[in-house]
């Protein structure tokens, strides 16, 4: 005799039908050894006792046997699936999104080569994950704070961070908002409400909770989204972030890009549970797994997550977006050393988020395949010229080696600055 997990999905009727998700979790699909207790979670009332306590006379070791289902709106050829809801964005918005995805992809192609030529010191591409960036960013508002990991440039660009801004940061010139202090792709922009990226992984998760908590008690009617990969989710800060978000009821959207690879470590070596999604449930957080290469699934899920987060009773949400890292981890990586090229090619060809959206647009009569080439050519032109301009700019003034360590330069640092100036007078080259 076994019971089943009843997972009540927090969804409005416009989004999906709960019964189709529940059906995959009915007793018939559970193996006898799985022990599951009946529970439901809503954001309306915090239960005094989280779960119904039941006592059993036989020791049953619980193990999840059925994976959480993956929410999908479009088929691989861009058709809306039965039961799914087309967000029905207007043509202008959809074109903007599509062009931005192509821009990210095209820019990444160029910048990867640019690094190889030695013109920038480092770069990270986002091939295959463009839908995770654009789908989520398009569903949020500018008041929502963004924390990234390092592979979300499309989200930042959707908000208005320009190709020039990117080139300035990557070439570390005087127009870099970060004043040339960090490696390329460590973007940050107050103007675009995007917190500056740092290299340590997952540190941004509890930070996002702090920012979200601030938004909550200051009644800003906004939320915070934080992006991270499935590898970063192994860090202790992931646990800290989710647990704090749940206990503090902070309006945080945890957005995991599960792209199956953490440098050379495949997800089978990263975790054994049901991905990252199963963990959200364990923290008491409403969780959804989505097809990360289906931009409308990402969009719908993020939009709903925002509603949940910013509702009268704020709650964090976890979204696990299943996708694939088509490119190398970074320009310091050669992924042919650890994974088969046909695997990469399979994902690039058959699960391409950009072509999926294009097919959707073609169905609507909003796009024709021959419009791609001129778009790409235009983007390439723009990127190349922006890069050339950025490279020609001056680097930040030397004083900025010493500024911003604190709000003002302390005495001991003034002294070191003076010593460096003397040294440079002696050795100007």
């Amino acid at each position: 005799m076994h019971r089943y997990i009843s997972v009540r999905v927090l969804s409005s009727s416009t989004l999906s039908r709960p019964s189709s998700i529940l059906s995959s979790l009915r007793p018939s699909s559970c193996s006898p050894s799985s022990f599951l207790c009946k529970r439901s979670y809503t954001t309306n009332t915090p239960p005094k006792v989280d779960l119904q306590e039941e006592y059993v006379a036989t020791p049953i070791f619980a193990k999840q046997e059925v994976a959480m289902p993956t929410y999908r709106v479009m088929s691989s050829d861009g058709k809306i699936l039965p039961g799914a809801v087309d967000p029905n964005l207007d043509r202008e918005e959809v074109e903007k999104i599509y062009k931005m995805m192509v821009t990210v992809n095209t820019m990444d192609n160029i910048m990867y080569d640019v690094q190889r030529q030695g013109r920038v010191s480092f770069y990270m591409t986002s091939f295959g994950e463009e839908a995770t960036h654009l789908g989520s960013a398009a569903a949020l508002k500018m008041d929502d704070i963004m924390f990234g990991q390092y592979r979300e440039v499309g989200a930042l660009m959707y908000r208005g961070f320009s190709i020039d801004d990117i080139m300035n940061q990557c070439t570390s010139n005087q127009y870099d908002y970060g004043k040339g202090r960090q490696m390329p792709v460590h973007y940050g922009s107050k103007k675009h409400n995007f917190q500056t990226i740092s290299s340590p992984l997952a540190t941004q998760l509890p930070q996002a909770v702090g920012a979200a908590y601030y938004q909550k008690i200051m009644k800003l009617n906004a939320c915070t989204i934080v992006y991270f990969g499935e590898g970063a989710a192994s860090e202790g800060d992931f646990h800290a972030g989710l647990n704090f978000a749940a206990t503090l009821e902070a309006p945080t959207i945890f957005f995991c890009r599960n792209n199956k690879w953490a440098i050379s470590t495949p997800s089978h070596e990263q975790y054994r549970g049901d991905g990252i999604a199963a963990r959200g449930v364990a923290y008491g957080i409403p969780t959804i797994r989505v097809d990360g290469n289906d931009i409308w699934a990402v969009y719908n899920a993020t939009k709903k997550a925002r509603e949940i987060a910013t509702s009268e009773k704020p709650s964090p949400v976890l979204i696990e977006a299943m996708t694939y890292r088509v490119g190398h981890h970074s320009t310091s990586d050669d992924s042919t050393r650890y994974r088969p090229t046909d695997e990469v090619e399979h994902w690039r060809a058959n699960h391409n988020p950009i072509s999926r959206l294009r097919l959707y647009m073609e169905d609507k009569g909003w796009w024709k395949p021959e419009m791609d080439a001129p778009l790409i050519a235009e983007v390439r032109q723009h990127v190349r010229s922006a890069l050339k301009t950025a490279e020609a700019q001056l680097k930040p003034a030397l004083v900025h080696l010493f500024t911003d360590v604190y709000d003002t330069i302390p005495q001991h640092l003034e002294q070191q600055k003076a010593e460096l100036e003397i040294h440079l007078k002696k050795y100007p080259n």
Partner: protein, 366 residues
């Protein structure tokens, strides 16, 4: 060693060192770094009450200020947050789950968004899980963002130091790990009056501050503390007593020990000690110590933290760089031993007043 025999003849609890504040000379007479009228109204407060008062004022005057950490809701394990939740609300004074990296990360994000966070780490010994968030994130937040963002309103408070029976994990002095991190400020008060002013200054300083509170003094240090809102400037040392023969430098609970040593030196050998309380370790008041050493020519530095690479090494090196020719004797460091903080051997481990007296004697008679 003879000491082994000695110990075994003691009753079981006698090794727990009791310091009686009542019988030790007060170090509260010199609060020359406070800009407050001597007639200002005061109230008898101990260290945790003074700290509580500072946080109360902080929350009163800054609507974006919040306090969080383990067990702060009911008042905290050292009672520093007593009454604050009732007064300011559960959304502003709240418990977090038991996770220091989460506490620090939460504080980083809350302040990056524009708030003021007073985060409590229950014991400085447990600050290490938060080390990444403090050193890699909080300290670098302003610099790496090009000054677009900063953890300006961030203060992390933690009880530190010997308590008589704390051993490895309730006695540590980890201040030097943080002094080594550009972007942070490190502040260590020595008395209730100093603590209130320094804590208010730390909370309001637009940089992340680590504030270590000498737990030994939470209950035992009592004085008449001004009830008004006042601050003591960070980065400035306090001259506790003036002298001419030797400069003695310390901070935190060690000031009591040093005062004992200075008194002993005066009584037994007629040595006039100039005693300096650093108050802040990062940045530290180089000028004040240098000026004193130029006058006395001799320097003794003392802290509970281990000797090797302890903060005394920073002071000693900087002073010899700046006034080498003023020195009449090698600089003395009287510190904790290079061992984990032991339980039964605490009395031998700590740099007590006798070790400091010997160091003072040594530099003066060099």
């Amino acid at each position: 060693m003879n000491t082994r025999l000695r110990l075994s003849t003691l009753s079981p609890l006698q090794h727990i060192i009791k310091r009686s504040y009542a019988t030790t000379p007060t170090i509260t007479t010199t609060n020359n770094n406070i800009n407050i009228s001597p007639d200002a109204p005061t109230k008898k407060m101990n260290l945790f009450t003074a700290i509580n008062n500072a946080m109360d004022i902080a929350l009163e005057t800054d609507p974006k200020a919040v306090i969080f950490g383990e067990d702060v809701g009911f008042g905290g394990v050292f009672r520093c947050t007593t009454g604050l939740r009732d007064k300011h609300g559960a959304n502003r004074v709240f418990n977090t789950p038991l996770c220091e990296q989460g506490i620090a990360g939460l504080a980083v994000g809350y302040t990056a968004a524009g708030g003021t966070a007073i985060a409590e780490i229950q014991f400085a010994d447990y600050i290490f899980p938060a080390f990444d968030q403090i050193v890699n994130e909080a300290a670098k937040y302003r610099y790496r963002s090009g000054n677009q963002f900063a953890c300006a309103g961030l203060t992390i408070r933690a009880p530190y130091g010997a308590v008589g029976h704390g051993a490895h994990y309730h006695s540590q002095s980890p201040e030097n790990y943080f002094v080594h991190t550009p972007g942070l400020k490190v502040v260590i008060p020595s008395t209730p009056i100093q603590a209130k002013g320094l804590l208010l200054a730390s909370i309001r300083d637009p940089n992340p501050v680590i504030f270590f509170e000498p737990k030994w003094l939470y209950r035992s240090a009592v004085e008449e503390v001004p009830i008004d809102d006042y601050m003591i400037p960070l980065g400035k040392a306090r001259i506790v007593r003036e002298g001419s023969d030797v400069t003695v430098v310390g901070y935190g609970a060690q000031m009591l020990v040093l005062e004992n040593a200075c008194n002993l030196a005066e009584q037994k050998l007629g040595i006039s000690c100039e005693l300096i309380d650093l108050c802040s370790l990062l940045p530290w008041d180089v000028e004040a110590v240098e000026a004193s050493v130029r006058k006395t020519g001799r320097l003794v530095i003392s802290h509970e933290a281990q000797k090797t690479s302890g903060f005394a090494s920073e002071i000693a090196t900087t002073i010899q760089e700046r006034c080498f020719l003023s020195l009449q004797a090698p600089i003395q460091r009287v510190c904790g031993l290079d061992t984990p903080f032991p339980l039964i051997f605490e009395k031998f481990y700590v740099p007590d007043h006798l070790k400091n007296f010997e160091a003072i004697k040594q530099v003066v008679h060099y």
